[in-house]
Each structure stands twice: as C-alpha cells, then as structure tokens.
C-alpha cells in the first residue's frame, strides 16, 4: 500500500537543471541522469569514446557478414566484379558459427584461393587469409565477438557481484563476513589464471569463456558494491528514512540502489574494456573463440606465422582491440568524471 509504481520513475527521472547551484553543493549537484548526460556531452573524451563505441557496435550489428559463410555464396562473385565488397551484401540475421560449430566446416571456402595475404584490392581491401577469407570482413566480425563477449562477461560479473556485494553490505555481520571471505579467496587466484582454470575444467566453449571471465570479475564488483552500499548506508538520509518508519525493502529500492549505482556503472564500462583484452588474450592462446569463428586475438595468433609475408595482418586486429578498449576506457573515465566528482581530477 505504501508504494506505487510511480516512485521508480521519481527516483530515476532526474533533471539537473534546477536553478542556479549553491556553491557548497557542487557534489550534490552532480546527480540526476540528465545532468550526467549533459556533462558527458560537454566532455570530449567521453564523447569520443561514446562515438567509437557506437561505431564499433554499429559494425557489430550490421556488417555481420562473415566470409566463412560468404564464400559458399560464391555465385555472388558477380557483385565483386562491380567493386562491391562482399561484406556489403548484408546478412540481416545473426549468423552464429558459435552455435553450430559442427556445421561450419562445410562452410569453408572452395578453392581456388585468391589474394592470400596479398595486398588490398577493391574486393578485399586488406587481402584475404590463407583460406581466402576476407580479412576486413573478419575484423568487422571480430568486433561483434569482442563487444558481445565483453558485455556479456561484464554483465555476468556485475549481476553476480551486485548480488553478493549488496547482500553483504546491507546485512553486514556474519553474512558479510562469510561472503566477503569467499570473495577474497576467489580474488586471491589471479584473474587470468582463474579463467584458465575454469576453461581447463569446462572446456574452451565461448559460452564458458564468457561465464568464466564474468565469474572471475565478481570479486571486483562485489567489493566495489559492498563498499558503496556501506557508505550509502551511513548517510543520514537512510537513517532519516528508517526513523520515518520506511520499510527496509523500500529503503533499499528507493535510496540505497539509486545512490550506489553510479560507481558500478563506471566500473562496468571500464570492465568491458578489460574483458575484451582478457578474451583477446585467451583467443590468442587458443582458448576462447574457436575457429572458424573469427576473433581478433585468434587472428593475431595466426599472424605470428605469417609476419614476414603480411606485416599488416598482425597490425590490424591489434589496432581494432586498441581502439575498442580505448573507447570504453575513455567513456568510462568521462562517466566517472560526470558521476563521481570525488575521483575527478
């Protein structure tokens, strides 16, 4: 009876453009999502990051044609004659060689191969690899893998970490002790080693890689959320709500969560970048994304053998990783500046 659906909106629908700001209130004034957005809009770093992320995600969404699949459509060579790059003929559905690893071999390209590790042509601007697959197409497809895997892994870690951290932080006492000790033990195994151990046990399936990276990042999120919740819980407005007789669950919903969420969002953004790096590393070692599904790490791994023949083959995937991760880091930094003035230098 005490709560209605509308309160959620009240909490989240904030606008920051209220009057002129009192001078002492600089910290308090940096609330409100609309204000946050306006801050980001004014911050070239964050904006740059956002644009690049949008561009890479756009590629991931739309230019999804993988040459693996593509080459069976060799009759479409006709388009190539007119200078139309293969990947422009968009596949509108989500091709997922990940889902059907058994079927992919038959999708391998027929001979003869053209332009293996050669120079760019109109049809293959960056050349093709040893199986005649278009490198640019594979790079573009790699962005889909990277961003998807990074985001899913982060969401897994964020959800797991939020649950653990929030429960530990809000209830405190024994629960807190127990959970945090478990988390710290997990944290004591170095991140990458933990993921490797996970893969060793469950196999190199991409889904397990995502879950593994997610689980390995639970301690980071759990500790962050816990410390946020603990500090928010100390705030006088929480005590005021308790004193007013507001129920615990409403306090958590209306005050604790909205006020402790900002740093998590920032960490989440930065974590996507980290996860992309981790997964690229795993693929580089031969775990993670399995051929023929293209991924940047795997392409780099492959490039080691052909460094002399095609210098650029070992440069492009690395640049893609670099640009994507830089974008997430820039956006994360900008978000932090906008949301969390304490860390703003």
């Amino acid at each position: 009876m005490a709560t209605t659906g509308s309160t959620e909106d009240d909490v989240l629908d904030a606008d920051g453009d209220v009057g002129s700001l009192h001078k002492d209130d600089e910290i308090e004034s940096r609330v409100g999502w609309r204000y946050t957005l306006s801050q980001i809009r004014g911050d070239p770093t964050a904006l740059g990051g956002l644009v690049v992320i949008a561009f890479m995600s756009g590629l991931a969404l739309f230019a999804t044609v993988d040459a693996v699949v593509f080459d069976i459509l060799s009759e479409y060579q006709v388009f190539a004659q007119y200078g139309v790059r293969k990947y422009w003929i968009a596949e509108t559905f989500w091709i997922s060689p990940i889902k059907e690893p058994l079927e992919t071999p038959r999708l391998l390209p027929p001979a003869p191969l053209e332009n293996v590790y050669g120079q760019g042509t109109w049809a293959h601007p960056l050349g093709t690899d040893d199986r005649g697959r278009d490198i640019l197409a594979r790079l573009v497809y790699g962005s889909r893998i990277a961003i998807t895997v990074g985001a899913i892994a982060t969401v897994v870690g964020m959800v797991g970490g939020t649950v653990v951290g929030a429960v530990a932080g809000y209830y405190g006492g024994r629960v807190d002790d127990l959970l945090m000790r478990a988390v710290e033990t997990l944290y004591a195994i170095p991140f990458f080693i933990l993921v490797l151990a996970f893969i060793a046990v469950f196999g190199t399936n991409l889904a397990f890689v995502m879950v593994g990276v997610g689980i390995a990042s639970i301690p980071t999120f759990a500790r962050l959320i816990r410390s946020e919740v603990v500090s928010v819980r100390e705030k006088a407005y929480i005590e005021a709500a308790t004193a007013a007789g507001v129920r615990d669950r409403n306090i958590i919903r209306r005050h604790v969560i909205p006020n402790s969420f900002a740093p998590v969002l920032v960490q989440g953004t930065l974590q996507i970048g980290t996860a992309i790096l981790i997964v690229a590393g795993l693929s580089f070692l031969g775990f993670g994304v399995q051929p023929p599904t293209p991924s940047w790490g795997q392409m780099l791994s492959k490039s080691r053998a052909v460094m002399i023949e095609n210098v650029w083959y070992s440069i492009w995937p690395g640049l893609c990783i670099l640009v994507t991760v830089v974008a997430f880091n820039m956006f994360g930094d900008g978000l932090r500046d906008a949301l969390d003035p304490r860390l703003n230098n």
Binding site: A188, I189, I193, V201, L300, S314, G318, I321, V325, L343
Partner: protein, 332 residues
C-alpha cells in the same frame, strides 16, 4: 613493535586464504566432466590398467579423503605427479619459476620506475601539454593488449631491424658454459638483458600506464591537502614539497595498487611467455591445459595464487612501514 605484530597478523590471515585457494582448485579439478583416467590413458585402456592408475593416483578413495590427502600433500610440498611429464609437479614448477619471476619483477621495476616520474610530472604540470601527453600515453597503455605489443616488438626489432632475439630468456645467473655464444659472465648478462628487454617492456607497459594514472591523481590529491599548503606557508621550497611533503603520502595508494595489479601482471606473463616462447610457469599452465594434465594445472594455479598472496602481503607491509597509522591500532 607494532610492525612485527602486524606482520605476524598478516601472515596469519594468509593461511585461510591459501587454504581456500587450494580448496577451490581441488573442487574445480574434480568437477571435470568425464573420467580423468580415460583422459590419461587415451582410448580403450584395459581394466587392469585403469585400476592400476586409479590406485596409483588414489582415485579409488572417496572425495573427502582425496581432499584431505591433497591438502596434506600441499602442506608438505607434494602436489602430486604430472601426468604428461611423469615428474613431481613441484620439480616442474621449480624449473619454470625462474624465468617467470625474472620477467615479472623486471617488468614491475620497469613500470614503477617509469610511472612514478611520469605521474609526478603530470600532476605538477596539470593541464599543460606535458600532462596531456602523459595522460594520452597512459590511456593508450592501459588499452593495448600486452601480447600485441610483444608481437609488434618482434616485428620491428627482430624481423625488421634484426637487433633483438625474439625467443627464449637467459637467466643472468646462468653458467656461461651452458649458454651458447657466451664465454664470460659479462656475456651472459648482456645476452640476458637483450633477451629480456622486449618481454619486459611488453609486459610492463600496461602496469606502467595504470600506475601513471594513479600516481597522477594521487599526487594531485595530496598537493591539495592542508599540510602541503601549510608547508608552503612556512616557506618550504616547491621542489622540497614535491619531493618530501607530498611524495611519500602520494605513494600510499600506489603501494596498494601494486599489490592488486599483480593479478594483471601474472595474466600478462602467461601471454608474454607464449609470445616470446619463454619456458616459464605461464607456458607451463597453458600447455598443461592443452594436455589436460590436471595435477600440473592445479599445482601451477596454487603457485600463482601463492605468488599473488605473498605479493599483496609484501605491499601491505611496505604500506605499514610508510604509514604509521596502519600499525597504530595494533599497538593497543
């Protein structure tokens, strides 16, 4: 007085954590789908072979007995035998520990020695071109995969200019007799350095970049503290303020981060050892995963956990050494 008790406490605290690491590792190893014996023996082994292996590895005992045995083994330094090599896991790890430790410590040294001056200068010249440049470099640094940096180094310095070797690592303490192209200790050292420089920088770059950012913000924060203002108000020179009054305080968060960043350094080491084909712990764990050599995977995982935990304890102790407030509570 306080510092000894603090050290003792920290070491005491590490025991349950390490026990937890051993437990997690054991549980994961025993969650493997399928029969490890099958994996060991390959397809269609005979029944007697299976039984022999089972009793040899103690697999015919119940899980909790095996757990107790394993923990007891770990405590006495016995991690079991590698399936692939047939040697004790500890022997194998001991062989491989040297290169990994050399790589990690040299990279950390590189990262710290470059990051601190860079961060301090960046803070001192806040929002000036130097600062912007240093911030740009560190942004790129934290976003670049270390193994790609390694590849690029190989491309440039090994393939193109052919000035540095792209594989292997030579221990500086190696016997000159056993090292090819080396007659004296000096030769060994030079060779070792030439082998080390690319892996070291590839691995250290990310740490360097991360530390630079923290050093900068930490320095900025300290420079705005009242006690720095007070030093200024008492006529202390700017250089002395930077060197003495601000520097020590600004290193506190760095020390904390150093411990935590070890986790990234270890992960990077695995990749860098693969790129430069260094026979270290990282390559060992990767290979044993491919070979499904579970005793070895467990052993290396626990060892990496131990390296991390020891590293964190060391950083905590140096923190306590610098900041008198840490041990204060312990005193009374």
């Amino acid at each position: 007085m306080g510092i000894y008790r603090y050290t003792f406490n920290r070491l005491l605290q590490a025991i349950p954590v390490m026990l937890g690491v051993v437990t997690i590792t054991f549980v994961m190893a025993n969650a493997i789908p399928g029969d490890p014996v099958q994996i060991m023996l390959g397809p269609s082994p005979s029944q007697t072979e299976i039984e022999a292996i089972r009793s040899r590895y103690g697999l015919n005992k119940p899980l909790w007995v095996r757990y107790i045995n394993y923990v007891a083994g770990v405590l006495t330094g016995d991690f079991g035998r590698s399936i692939f090599y047939g040697e004790p896991v500890t022997t194998k790890i001991a062989q491989r520990m040297g290169p990994t430790m050399l790589l990690m410590t040299s990279s950390y040294a590189f990262a710290i020695l470059t990051a601190i001056p860079l961060g301090v200068i960046s803070a001192k010249r806040r929002n000036k071109p130097t600062d912007h440049a240093s911030r740009f470099v560190s942004l790129i640094g934290v976003s670049t995969p270390s193994f790609w940096i390694g590849l690029m180094f190989i491309l440039v310095f090994s393939f193109h200019f052919q000035v540095l070797p792209s594989t292997n690592l030579i221990m500086p303490w190696a016997d000159p007799v056993e090292v090819r192209n080396a007659a004296t200790r000096v030769d060994v050292l030079v060779l070792s350095a030439r082998h080390l420089v690319m892996p070291m920088i590839s691995l250290g770059t990310l740490q360097m970049a991360a530390l630079t950012r923290i050093e900068r913000s930490s320095m900025l924060e300290v420079l705005s503290e009242d006690y720095v203002q007070l030093a200024r108000a008492y006529g202390v020179k700017e250089s002395a303020i930077l060197r003495k009054h601000a520097f020590r305080n600004a290193q506190l968060p760095i020390i904390t981060i150093l411990g935590l960043q070890l986790t990234g350094l270890i992960g990077g080491a695995v990749l860098i050892e693969t790129v430069f084909q260094i026979n270290g712990m990282g390559k060992l764990i990767v290979n044993s995963i491919f070979r499904q050599d579970y005793p070895l995977i467990m052993g290396t995982t626990i060892m990496f956990g131990a390296v991390f935990v020891i590293g964190v304890i060391l950083t905590d102790l140096s923190y306590a050494y610098i900041d008198p407030r840490v041990t204060y509570d312990e005193v009374d």
